[in-house]
């Protein structure tokens, strides 16, 4: 069963008088519960593709179907809720809200949806990501690796069907990056989620079920 169907998707940007074809006719199927790695040189359109799937951009052409819903048919408000409920984002740079503690950061997406957290699930996630003793600390007091773990926990808390990770290990050193990637894989397996990850490291890409290689906005 394919949870994400990307069908001849194009995304062009206009900068000044130049047309940049960030994603140019990409088709992609992602099976439910699998780990897909997207690799490619910088500027090859990886992030744009991920953002398209995450509903952050609207495609210039083509269709993206997630969970039987075509994203372009959603309104701005619906897209917001789509992001909130269906998608978990993990970014390259630490994207935690610096004014909130780790616990609050993790619970933030739930709070936005006016939901209560399931304490058991919360403990499971934080336990798996080894955040138990750091819950009441502020992000800036933690190492980059731990911050990324918190970001992963935040992405997981809503039990999203898809986890989108944009070089989650990009700004980490080699050791930490392997740890974080391992955790990401482990937790998604544990919670039966679909993981789509952009990475530079072939080592991480090897962990995946499917590797998509992009070049100049096309799959090669």
């Amino acid at each position: 069963m394919d949870i994400v169907i990307v069908d001849h998707v194009k995304k062009y940007f206009e900068t000044g008088n130049r047309l940049v074809k960030a994603v140019d006719g990409v088709s992609l199927l992602v099976e439910k519960g699998k780990f897909t790695a997207i690799v490619g040189a910088s500027g090859s359109g990886k992030t744009t593709l991920l953002n398209l799937i995450g509903g952050l951009y609207r495609p210039t052409g083509g269709r993206i179907i997630v969970d039987d819903t075509e994203l372009s048919s959603l309104t701005e408000q619906e897209l917001t809720i789509y992001r909130r409920r269906r998608v978990g984002f993990v970014f390259q740079d630490c994207s935690l809200v610096s004014e909130l503690t780790v616990r609050e950061n993790i619970l933030f997406p739930l709070a936005l949806d006016d939901s209560r957290s399931d304490p058991v699930f919360f403990e499971r996630i934080t336990g798996a990501l080894r955040l138990d003793d750091k819950l009441d600390r502020y992000p800036h007091t933690l190492s980059a690796g731990t911050q990324q773990c918190a970001a992963i926990a935040r992405a997981l808390i809503t039990k999203p069907s898809i986890l989108l990770a944009d070089e989650p290990t990009g700004s980490l050193d080699v050791r930490t990056s392997q740890n974080v990637a391992g955790l990401l894989k482990m937790t998604t397996e544990m919670f039966h989620q679909t993981l789509i990850m952009i990475t530079h490291s072939m080592e991480l890409a090897q962990l995946s079920d499917q590797v998509v290689r992009l070049q100049d906005g096309r799959i090669v």
């Binding site: 995450g54 952050l56 917001t80 936005l112």
Partner: protein, 863 residues
């Protein structure tokens, strides 16, 4: 959900203290502005109203007169009435010497409403107890103290009564001519004879019921009161009717709103809201921009637009909750302190004014509402901007770099200023706001400066007084009375005492006709309708013509005019315009009885003769009647433009409007005047003093008034100058206050922009530094940016100030007679010279505070 957003809002609020401080400051400044202005406005209104109420001796909404007991009860029970006092006038005391003492039966409500509650002692309870003013008691020859025994004598129903009374309490008189002595209802019950109601037969007031009332609502009060008067069986309009029951609205308490004033207020409010908008909009815009990456993150995670808006609005609310109360308090204090300064300018026109403002909720509520409105208006756009930014873009937001940046190789030396120049275009709107608010500061400073500079003090002084000193009876300077009666003439002893002072030169009395001189009348063939109304105070019947001019009429129904008797020296000082232009020749001719000098009021703006009052022409003959018989014929020999001093004193004309009204002012030599009038009253004693005696003379007169003759008041040329200067100071004060407020708004915007620049462009700076820009060059660049703003504002400001000065300001000033337009740009230049150093200082300090980490840290922080 709410909890989490609260936490988030609270923490991010706490995190950016400097920015919030600026925002709170902006809001506080705005609310300070509103509060002080409202406080000053309301305080002025309150003070003037209270003063006028005191002069009118009533703070009621209105009063009913000549009622019977039944009518009074009915009136009291009506829905319209919130409070009604009881007053039964008995009459004036016949045993009073100089002071007019009205003797009434009153209840406490009435006493309360008419300012005669005893301050010392108690209200009268027994039939032989009274409350009176200190002046009344002095006049009756006792010291004002509780328990003093006095005799009260009056006439009612044609019978003379005398009662021995005990003073149960007393109060300080508000008015030096008239005060009320009152006793309680038990006096009425003990003397039913006096209080027989015979008003319908003989118009005897004793026995009628009067009542000052407070109404439930003030809208359409006159109609409602008239209606009530009819309901209780009276006739509110026809004076001749036996049921005449006038319902009179207290115009002092219920002033009709002046549309011009309202419009001006609206313009000011709009201007202030605009000022607040300039300030607050920018602060919030910058806040949003600084936070835009954060909002992008929120949006990416799944925060909806309304949630972002909620977050922003919450912060705005907190900032307001901090800023507004602070502003309210500071503003009120400023208003309270500034009020006397502003009220001072009215002090020559209004006596014994008490400049004070109470912390009324109206001030605070309206100021707070205005500020809140401003905050709402100015945050709407930034909030929308925050909510509308698409998630990913905002997340990766970097403020747009200026477009069309051209590099010129030849500009190596000026590279850094050039770099700074190209940075200005990054946010046009913000740059515009900074420049506009700084510019408004300069323009307002300059306009007020120009107005102050153009204030023609000499012209004003010359209008107010021609000699060094002029002494008159104090009634003349009271706008509720005026010089009307012969008893108000200066006492010969007083004139003598003053003229015997050292340094007095050319002292001469000026005679003026009074209400008692109604046997001398004038006729020059002007047609008018007879007997249209009676002036309450002078008792003269007035006639009026088709143009709406009204004239005081004598016993024989002819005009009594305003007639002055003067010495030659005084006539010589007058401004002769037509006819015989040589004062000496004129005076000689007039002494021979060959004619008269007619005075015509001027258009103060251009000092030309005012056509409305220009009724007699040179050569026309005025027939003078005495006791109804032609006495002499006086051709008009010359016409003079008369000013305040020729008319009365200073700006007053309280007496003339009650005597001659709008009829011509006639000036005669003293000898002729004395021939014409049987008992000539000295209105004024005008004199110069030798150099160096001004202060001594002023001190003498103050002292004299204090200890010998409390009836006099005087004006000196020095006081006139001071009065004009006060007015100028107020213009300067208000103008500068507004200028400074806009200046502060501009500077705050500048500080904010510089800080934002530093915070947002940290990475850019760090990059520049890492490729070899020194700290000094960086500071130089920021300084150049900030100076460009200030310099731009100064240039625009100067230009605009010049243009405005030559157009709008000139127009306005030319229409006001007190001003003679005088072009100046000095205040603008001064403001500019303050602004530029400040603009240099701001980035230096800001860089020191906000940019102190190492380059590497800066680079990392910006990641």
């Amino acid at each position: 959900m709410q909890e989490m957003l609260n936490t988030l809002a609270r923490r991010s609020f706490a995190a950016c203290r400097v920015r919030n401080l600026i925002a709170v400051l902006a809001i506080a400044l705005c609310s300070t502005l509103f509060t002080s202005i409202t406080a000053i406005g309301i305080g002025t209104l309150q003070s003037i109203t209270l003063m006028m109420q005191e002069q009118k001796m009533s703070r009621s909404d209105g009063d009913f007169r000549y009622m019977s007991k039944e009518q009074f009860e009915m009136m009291k029970g009506s829905d319209l009435i919130r409070e009604a006092g009881l007053r039964m006038p008995v009459g004036f005391l016949t045993n009073a010497r100089l002071h007019n003492i009205e003797f009434d039966v009153m209840d406490e409500t009435q006493a309360e409403l008419t300012f005669c509650m005893p301050v010392h002692g108690e209200v009268p309870r027994r039939e032989n107890e009274v409350v009176a003013s200190d002046r009344a008691l002095h006049d009756l020859g006792v010291e004002p103290q509780v328990g003093a025994r006095i005799t009260v004598a009056f006439t009612a129903h044609g019978t003379d009564y005398t009662f021995p009374m005990v003073v149960s309490g007393w109060y300080e008189a508000l008015n030096d001519q008239l005060s009320v002595m009152w006793t309680g209802i038990s006096f009425r019950d003990a003397n039913p004879d006096i209080f027989r109601n015979t008003y319908r037969m003989d118009h005897e007031m004793a026995g009628t019921y009067w009542s000052d009332i407070l109404a439930v609502s003030r809208g359409g009060l006159q109609e409602k009161m008239n209606e009530l008067s009819r309901v209780i069986g009276g006739d509110p309009e026809d004076m001749g009717s036996p049921d005449y029951l006038p319902a009179i609205v207290n115009a002092v308490t219920n002033p009709s709103p002046d549309p011009q004033l309202v419009a001006m207020g609206a313009v000011f409010v709009a201007l202030f809201i605009f000022c607040g908008y300039l300030l607050i909009y920018n602060v919030f815009d910058i806040s949003v921009m600084q936070e835009i990456r954060r909002f992008g993150l929120y949006r990416t995670i799944g925060m909806s637009r309304s949630q972002v808006k909620g977050l922003m609005n919450r912060q705005a609310l907190w900032l307001s909750l901090m800023g507004i109360p602070a502003g309210l308090i500071v503003g009120f204090v400023i208003g309270k302190l500034a009020l006397p300064l502003i009220m001072d300018t009215f002090s020559t026109e209004y006596q014994n004014i008490r400049a004070d403002v109470t912390p009324s909720p109206v001030i605070f509520v309206s100021a707070a509402l205005l500020t809140a409105l401003t905050v709402i208006i100015s945050t709407r756009k930034p909030v929308r901007k925050a909510a509308d930014t698409p998630p990913i873009d905002a997340f990766r937001y970097v403020e747009g770099t200026a477009r069309g940046r051209k590099s010129r190789r030849s500009a190596d030396l000026a590279r850094i200023p050039r770099l700074a120049w190209s940075n200005l275009g990054r946010n046009r709107r913000r740059s515009a706001f900074i420049v506009i608010s700084l510019m408004l500061c300069i323009v307002l400073m300059n306009c007020s400066g120009t107005a102050a500079e153009s204030m023609d003090i000499e012209k004003q002084t010359a209008y107010m007084i021609r000699t060094d000193f002029a002494v008159v009876n104090a009634v003349s300077t009271s706008n509720m009375k005026g010089f009307v009666h012969r008893t108000e003439a200066l006492k010969p002893q007083t004139v003598k005492d003053i003229s015997s002072q050292p340094g007095v030169v050319g002292g001469a009395p000026v005679y003026k006709n009074t209400a008692e001189d109604d046997n001398v009348t004038f006729d020059f063939g002007h047609k008018f309708a007879e007997a249209t109304f009676v002036n309450n105070h002078s008792g003269l019947v007035f006639g009026s013509d088709e143009e709406g001019r009204s004239f005081g009429l004598g016993k024989d129904g002819r005009m009594i005019c305003n007639v002055y008797g003067m010495e030659e020296s005084a006539i010589a000082r007058m401004d002769l315009r037509e006819g015989i232009m040589d004062a000496h020749t004129l005076y000689e001719k007039m002494e021979e009885g060959e004619g008269v000098l007619a005075g015509v009021q001027v258009n103060r703006t251009d000092m030309s003769l005012h056509e409305v009052f220009d009724m007699v022409q040179v050569g026309e003959v005025i027939t003078v009647y005495k006791d109804g018989l032609p006495f002499m014929e006086l051709p008009v020999l010359a016409k003079a433009a008369i000013n305040g001093d020729d008319q009365e004193i200073g700006f007053t004309c309280n007496g003339v409007i009650q005597i001659g009204g709008d009829s011509p002012h006639l000036y005669l030599p003293s000898s002729v005047y004395k021939e014409l009038y049987d008992d000539p009253a000295v209105y004024k004693y005008a004199f110069d003093v030798e150099e160096g005696y001004q202060e001594d003379m002023a001190a003498f007169l103050d002292n004299y008034r204090e200890n010998v003759d409390s009836d006099i008041n005087y004006l000196s040329s020095q006081a006139a100058v001071a009065n004009a200067e006060e007015e100028r100071d107020m213009i300067l004060f208000v103008g500068r206050l507004m200028g400074i407020i806009f200046g502060i708004a501009g500077i705050l915007n500048l500080i904010n922009t510089v800080i934002t620049s530093i915070v947002i462009r940290r990475h850019e700076f760090a990059t520049m530094q890492s490729i070899g820009m020194t700290g000094r060059q960086l500071t130089g660049m920021m300084m150049a940016e900030s100076v460009y703003y200030a310099a731009g504002a100064c240039l625009c400001g100067l230009l605009m100030a010049a243009v405005l000065n030559l157009t709008l300001v000139k127009e306005i000033l030319d229409s006001q007679w007190q001003f003679t337009f005088h072009f100046t740009l000095v205040p603008a230049l001064l403001a500019g010279t303050v602004m530029i150093p400040v603009s240099v200082l701001v980035p230096v300090l800001a860089l020191r505070v906000f940019y102190k980490d190492s380059i590497v840290e800066q680079l990392r922080a910006a990641e």
